[in-house]
């Protein structure tokens, strides 16, 4: 697997700066794919350091501080959602299901939920993604909150028809007589470095092409909890991709109380003036490092976490690009037909007169 490292991104940012104003701005043209990037340990979000021993220490420390890794955040979100749900409206129920969900799931995201809420509310399904998503649509159509787990995002494709033709169009085709807005599909996602191509894929672009769906990807444990709760309570079918890399490596203090983070709202997580960088999920950590590296070269980067990919917060991105005049989108997914292309095309159109540099992006594919 070829991975762009923070250093590679830094090189590209520098190159963009050097070429700015020289090549003009043929909107929408992509830079060439970078040469094989350096395989390097990825950068980490707040609270994570390199090295397994150190990491383990931090992890314990984090847990001692009641910090939670993403998997626990996901579990907490489900739990709190259920608690709130049961308290607020007993008739409107929440269900959690999927392959191996009952004992806690292969990533331990549903640990303890079956014991706590009952084996009929938190349960295993047969090994069949189209079946479990279709089942979830039916549950949601009856007014329930259906939280379906696809064991790996790589295995979501048998459910593609159910997601695209059914979940996404359920409300539209009925003129809002019916909806399956209570459906949330969770799926571990992205690379961890040893998963090969069937445990590493980033299939978000397939779903971003589908009106009626919301696609959300968190960058950290705290974000994961707030965004997952927002997805569960959002009255539209949502797909929540959980970067696997965050499951065990990211430690962050996660508030215990019930909180939601807004969907379709990007966040400027680092202010800058020279170039706008956009990413989502685990890639944000790489981009944070790139910002630090670029700063050494005197380049001031503005970094945006898109969070919700569809419908995405174009306004925040536009405002940033109008300021910096340059845009770089970086995602783990393949470049061709990736969601970065959509962002670039969109911004090229709306900010044409302000973009002074190549619009380009790097990836991890």
């Amino acid at each position: 697997m070829v991975m762009d490292s923070a250093a590679a991104v830094r090189r590209r940012v520098r190159r963009m700066k050097e070429t700015a104003g020289v090549r003009g701005a043929p909107a929408g043209v992509r830079g060439e794919r970078s040469a094989a990037g350096v395989r390097a340990e990825r950068g980490a979000p707040a609270g994570v350091t390199g090295g397994s021993k150190k990491r383990e220490e931090r992890r314990r420390e984090g847990l001692a501080l009641r910090g939670l890794c993403t998997s626990s955040a996901a579990a907490a979100a489900v739990e709190e959602s259920k608690k709130t749900q049961i308290r607020v409206d007993a008739a409107n129920s929440t269900y959690v299901f999927g392959e191996d969900v009952s004992f806690g799931g292969v990533f331990r995201c549903t640990t303890g939920l079956a014991d706590r809420f009952g084996k009929h509310r938190v349960f295993n399904t047969p090994l069949c993604e189209q079946g479990l998503v279709g089942f979830g649509i039916g549950l949601a159509a009856m007014g329930n909150r259906a939280i379906a787990e696809i064991q790996f995002a790589d295995y979501i494709f048998p459910a593609f028809d159910q997601i695209v033709n059914e979940a996404a169009k359920f409300r539209y085709r009925s003129g809002s007589q019916f909806n399956c807005g209570g459906l949330t599909i969770r799926a571990p996602y992205g690379a961890v470095g040893h998963g090969g191509h069937y445990h590493s894929q980033s299939p978000e672009a397939f779903f971003c092409h589908v009106p009626g769906l919301k696609v959300v990807i968190p960058r950290s444990p705290r974000e994961a909890k707030g965004l997952l709760l927002a997805c569960i309570r959002d009255p539209n079918p949502t797909i929540f991709f959980e970067p696997k890399w965050l499951y065990r490596l990211a430690v962050e203090e996660v508030p215990e109380h019930d909180y939601m983070l807004p969907l379709s709202q990007a966040e400027v997580i680092r202010q800058g003036t020279d170039i706008t960088l956009i990413a989502w999920g685990a890639q944000l950590a790489v981009m944070e490092q790139a910002c630090v590296e670029a700063e050494k070269d005197g380049i001031s980067c503005e970094l945006i976490d898109l969070k919700t990919l569809i419908p995405w917060d174009k306004e925040t991105v536009e405002a940033s690009v109008r300021k910096t005049g340059k845009l770089l989108v970086s995602h783990e997914a393949p470049i061709t037909g990736g969601f970065g292309a959509e962002i670039c095309a969109s911004i090229a159109e709306s900010c044409f007169l302000r973009v002074t540099s190549f619009i380009t992006y790097s990836d991890f594919s």
């Binding site: 069949c128 279709g134 009856m142 059914e166 003129g175 009255p235």
Partner: protein, 381 residues
């Protein structure tokens, strides 16, 4: 070493029947009694469905609607099954079961508004004709995709069970649909999760032009039930009393015993697949005629109703004239109603309009304004 045999010719699954071809109850057959009121309502709905099919089919041929699908030859499956269900039972239909809606009280005007895609169509003119849906009648809006509704019924049934409702979910599909992955997934899920759902397969012999001999090698559909651990039955799909009795019993078992039931109804698709199809290209015309005349399920039920002294020629004539007038009137009304406004293209995608779709709507409006002649005048902008 003993292999389980494949479906042997000699041991074909029996088919449950109550009425013979002359509308006589077969001696010794067990069935659920139907009173006069229910029987007449069932028969009236069958006649209504036949009349709708004749007139709407013709309306499509005249270019007044774009598409239509008839229930010809299969009228009693949807109507007799609907009669045995309760209004609380949630229906996940395919597309050849408008009889269920008719039984539940969907009006001729409601059907017609959908076919014409006018502003009173609940689906806001978005789908092709015959894609009905009614929230108040617990009839989940149809999608064109085959078999996708089957797993939904399982999820809905699971919810009904958990909420301790005295109701089940019912889903309909054809013989072709049983080859789809969603059918197998749903059967397995229903059995494992003990969901009170009734699967009703209309095995009408044809999936557009593909005969069942090219669809599966099993002895039909019902034999697959036990492989999933599901109670199953094969029933004569042209026998209204057999269907009524079967569905009535299935409903009791599904709800009281919290289990799924598979019903295979054997019938024949007398009509073409749709108005886009000419089935004489792939099956003999005399075969169609045989089923249309000699095996017609509505005629068979009428004979039984008449034998009970509940119906005569005069009733027949009055009913057919009355329904015909009402359908024609519904068309006249629906035709004059304007189409849903352009803005409805973008609503209901999400619960609230999203900003990206708002932008696309603005662009479309600008384009329509620039090129008004290229856009239909009956769609309010």
């Amino acid at each position: 070493m003993a292999f389980i045999p494949e479906s042997p010719e000699k041991q074909k699954l029996q088919c449950y029947r109550v009425l013979d071809d002359n509308g006589q109850t077969i001696i010794g057959s067990e069935f659920k009694e139907i009173n006069k009121e229910v029987a007449i309502k069932m028969y009236s709905k069958m006649v209504t469905l036949q009349t709708m099919d004749t007139i709407f089919y013709e309306a499509q041929r005249q270019g007044r609607i774009s598409f239509y699908v008839t229930s010809m030859g299969e009228e009693v499956i949807s109507i007799a099954s609907a009669a045995a269900l309760s209004m609380d039972d949630v229906i996940f239909p395919q597309y050849r079961e408008p009889g269920v809606l008719l039984w539940r009280g969907f009006t001729l005007q409601e059907f017609t508004n959908q076919l014409f895609g006018n502003k009173y169509d609940y689906g806001k003119g978005r789908q092709m004709p015959i894609h009905y849906g009614s929230n108040k009648l617990n009839y989940v809006t149809i999608s064109s995709t085959i078999a996708t509704q089957i797993p939904h019924a399982v999820g809905a049934a699971y919810s009904l069970k958990m909420d301790k409702k005295n109701a089940c979910a019912v889903t309909y599909f054809g013989d072709g649909g049983t080859s789809e992955g969603d059918f197998h997934a749903a059967m397995n899920f229903a059995a494992v999760l003990e969901a009170p759902v009734i699967f009703i397969c209309r095995n009408n012999g044809w999936a557009i032009s593909t005969p069942t001999s090219e669809q599966f090698r099993s002895d039909g559909i019902a034999v697959r039930g036990p492989a999933y651990g599901m109670r199953s039955i094969r029933v004569d799909g042209n026998d209204a009393l057999a269907i009524y009795s079967t569905v009535h019993a299935a409903r009791e078992m599904a709800i009281n015993e919290r289990r799924p039931i598979l019903i295979e109804t054997l019938t024949y698709r007398v009509g073409h697949h749709s108005t886009s199809d000419d089935s004489t290209k792939y099956r003999p015309a005399d075969e169609i005629e045989h089923w249309r005349k000699a095996r017609d399920p509505v005629t068979r039920f009428r004979k039984w109703v008449e034998k009970n002294g509940w119906w005569d020629d005069e009733d027949e004539s009055v009913l057919r004239n009355d329904v015909r007038k009402k359908v024609l009137n519904a068309i006249q009304v629906a035709e004059k109603v304007e189409k849903p406004p352009l803005s409805e293209l973008f609503t209901d995608v999400y619960d609230h309009p999203s900003s990206n779709l708002g932008e696309q709507e603005r662009l479309l409006r600008e384009t329509v304004k620039r090129h008004p002649k290229d856009y239909p005048i009956d769609v309010p902008v």
